[in-house]
């Protein structure tokens, strides 16, 4: 996938909702790794569109992959509104995919 220009996330991220990394194709976000603060704890969330998730699962096939805790979204890309909905915890099943960060 060509990397191209980076996506624009202006105004979305703050101390309670941080972006670690993205898997992008130009300005299209296909996957992201986020840090979400909830209460006094930080949680890591992996989000991928289905196509990326399926491709990565095939790429890692045969390797010890532990439990897969990726939140998979429909569609061809992750939109700003998807990330905003995650930030606002509008997806009811999101809690099942949060991985507690043990840094602190």
């Amino acid at each position: 996938m060509e990397q191209g220009p980076k996506p624009n996330y202006e105004g979305l991220f703050d101390d309670n909702f941080k972006l670690i990394s993205v898997h992008n194709m130009g300005t299209q976000i296909l996957g992201a790794e986020l840090v979400i603060r909830h209460g006094k704890k930080d949680y890591i969330l992996n989000v991928e569109i289905y196509a990326l998730h399926a491709a990565r699962s095939a790429d890692f096939e045969g390797e010890d992959s532990d439990a897969d805790q990726t939140y998979v979204l429909p569609g061809d890309e992750i939109h700003f509104t998807d990330l905003k909905a995650i930030k606002e915890r509008k997806f009811e099943d999101l809690a099942d995919f949060l991985i507690e960060d043990v840094s602190s």
């Binding site: 670690i20 840090v35 491709a55 790429d59 890692f60």
Partner: protein, 175 residues
Amino acid sequence: MNYELEPTLQRPDLLISEIAPAPGFEVDQADYPWISKSSEVTTSLVTLSDGSQFRYGSIIGLSSSVSKIASGVNNEAAIKADQTMFRALPELISGNLPLSVDAVMNQMTGTNLYKTGKKGPDAARVYFSIERSDKDPLPIILRVAVTRHKEQQKLLGIITNANPQRRRKHDGGGR
């Protein structure tokens, strides 16, 4: 057993066919503000089994904070993350983003940072950068950090923190 900070490259599982000495590379603190000072790091000329060539070095040891995080990584997990990085390098060097690699948003310097992705909550992540030099047409891969997946928040606070006041807390900088 924890992972050695500067692992040997003499491992066939990394797809390396040849290693040769190469000139050192001057790492600028302006590009990597969390390191204690600008330093020259040793590099090796690496040829992968597909013929891809690059220079390779590590800057993990230039930061005590990053070194400490790396020392907490399980040996087996770190080796798997290294395997993922080396397998991805040919495609990444050619300008494409491999499936197994993500781009890291570095608000601090704008340096192109990448990290390996891996399924599973306990998988390690290797962070690395691709440098270019006017003196050498080959790209220089710098291994920047290795961390447990669950400790990325701490690493993120060190390597992408835009607040210089907080940055000075790392490595005793700003003295």
